[in-house]
């Protein structure tokens, strides 16, 4: 589809207002249809839950779930749980990002680092590292340190591979000319290799972020205590299904907001890149 649209735009030229307006209408139509279908799903949820076909335990009505979130927000529980979950997920994500980019950059420059970490990364990446959760609990206990550690352990792999791949695919001419003009090894990394690899590194981060969230929630569920995952587990233990569904809605909103935010940051950081220029 895109190819044909591009041709149409080229043929019409930039001054073709009718075409632009049609595009705007199309976007408006898509937005309206999207909002409508989400609304339909929510209304269907509400009606189905109230129809008496399922018990309130199996599926509480959407309105009851919203009311529950509202009282949690007023009571302050929501903010404590939300804050803790965000704190754990974000600290873990940032450590994984900084550590992963550093390790990837070191691996791409230093032979022995590459030799040592390459098999570990390539074998470790596809492993379900969440299986190590009980081991980490055994070592580090049930508190934030162990929750953040498992997040880092899980999220660092895609960042390392993306950084490594990104730097490897930087055009050799760029590096050669920089070196020719007298750039030091450090300048080469900071001013040439990393910026040129940025699109791929950001893609790695965009893989690592959802992993951080998934793992944070799992760790909270397994270890209990405060946090959105822990709160859901407590609710399910007390057969409080409104609490469980409220947790899903809250976690969904958090995930949506964070992932959109990272996409916006990507657009900003890559404002110079053809990828961004093409889209606008």
């Amino acid at each position: 589809m895109a190819r044909i649209e591009d041709q149409a735009t080229l043929a019409a030229g930039p001054g073709d207002l009718a075409h632009e307006r049609a595009k705007g209408l199309d976007a408006a139509f898509r937005f309206g249809a999207g909002a409508l279908s989400i609304l339909v799903v929510l209304v269907a949820w509400e009606l189905f839950a109230r129809s008496g076909r399922v018990t309130m335990f199996m599926l509480p009505p959407f309105s009851a779930v919203v009311a529950r979130i509202y009282t949690d927000a007023l009571g302050g529980d929501l903010w404590i749980n939300l804050g803790l979950t965000l704190y754990r997920a974000m600290i873990g994500f940032v450590i994984a990002a900084v550590g992963g980019i550093t390790l990837g950059a070191l691996m791409s420059r230093i032979r022995i680092v590459h030799w040592f970490f390459d098999p570990i990364i390539s074998v470790g990446f596809p492993m379900p590292k969440i299986a190590f959760l009980p081991v980490i609990m055994l070592w580090l206990g049930l508190y934030d340190v162990s929750k953040i550690s498992i997040v880092v352990f899980d999220a660092i792999f895609p960042v390392v591979t993306a950084t490594l791949g990104g730097i490897a695919s930087v055009e050799k001419e760029l590096l050669w000319s920089a070196r020719n003009m007298g750039a030091s090894e450090r300048q080469l990394i900071w001013q040439i290799a990393l910026p040129a690899a940025l699109p791929q590194i950001l893609t790695g981060l965009q893989v690592a972020l959802p992993i951080s969230l998934i793992v944070t929630i799992i760790a909270e569920m397994a270890m209990g205590g405060y946090g959105l995952g822990g709160a859901m587990m407590t609710a399910s233990r007390f057969a409080d299904s409104r609490g469980v569904f409220a947790g899903i809605v809250e976690i969904a909103i958090v995930g949506y907001a964070l992932i959109k935010a990272l996409a916006v940051i990507r657009g900003r950081l890559l404002a110079w890149h053809p990828e961004t220029v093409e889209r606008s």
């Binding site: 279908s37 989400i38 570990i120 009980p134 998934i214 469980v244």
Partner: protein, 246 residues
């Protein structure tokens, strides 16, 4: 020889593990020597515990993943082919996509209890989206000239999906399935760890809570290895399925 030098670091790690535990650099309770873990593994295989729980896990994982591939693939291709359908369904996919799927663990338990059903549903729901997106992007990129010619030569819509759209969507679809495969292991093990009476995750939690850490390490390493092996096998399958591309 080349493979040996490539994987030497892993061997070094294993030796470091053994030495650290033997020389009591770390408490052998927290890190039992690797050789003890190996004997514990043999014991677990011998008394059938590892096999029984493994069967349960693999069954859940396989059924859930299969449903996700069929359902997600069909949904993604349908979205790519029918624009009206896409306009209404895409926002729902986009809304569901960023949800950290582990949040569904307690809900699937409320709906289907502690057994196989809840794990299969969880894996189906969690793994469907990456497959859908792969199929969608792949099918949208399929060559319009091919589609038009197939249509003008009188191919029925279903026939066309199967013969033209599916093959051209295959590379991206298969990549989506790879993501789903990795995700299925994560969801399977964590849901079994949190609420279950059977499976690898359950066995890890059970051995850990009774203090038989050698056994716990043995099962953890087994699961990690299976996840790794599944990914490598899948990559081979992918190469074979895509062998018609240059």
């Amino acid at each position: 020889m080349k493979a040996l030098s490539r994987y030497l670091p892993l061997l070094l790690l294993a030796i470091a593990w053994e030495l650290a535990a033997r020389l009591n650099i770390v408490s052998s309770l927290a890190l039992p020597p690797l050789t003890h873990v190996a004997t514990a593994w043999l014991d677990l295989v011998h008394d059938g515990e590892l096999i029984d729980n493994g069967e349960a896990s693999l069954y859940r994982g396989a059924v859930g993943l299969l449903l996700a591939i069929v359902g997600g693939g069909a949904l993604g291709m349908a979205m790519a082919r029918w624009r009206t359908f896409d306009v209404f369904v895409n926002p729902l996919v986009e809304l569901f996509y960023p949800l950290p799927k582990s949040a569904l663990i307690p809900v699937t338990v409320i709906w289907l209890g502690f057994g196989d059903g809840s794990k299969i549903l969880l894996i189906f729901l969690g793994c469907m989206i990456p497959v859908t997106i792969g199929a969608y992007n792949g099918a949208r990129g399929s060559d319009h000239v091919l589609v038009w010619s197939a249509r003008s030569m009188g191919a029925s819509p279903l026939r066309m999906m199967w013969d033209v759209v599916l093959p051209s969507a295959l590379p991206e679809l298969l990549n989506g399935v790879r993501t789903a495969l990795a995700l299925s292991f994560i969801l399977l093990v964590s849901s079994e760890l949190i609420v279950s009476q059977k499976g690898f995750g359950y066995l890890i939690g059970y051995l850990g809570s009774t203090g038989s850490y050698e056994g716990m390490y043995a099962v953890v390493l087994t699961v990690a290895f299976l996840g790794f092996a599944a990914d490598r096998l899948y990559q081979l399958l992918m190469q074979w399925l895509l062998r018609w591309r240059e």
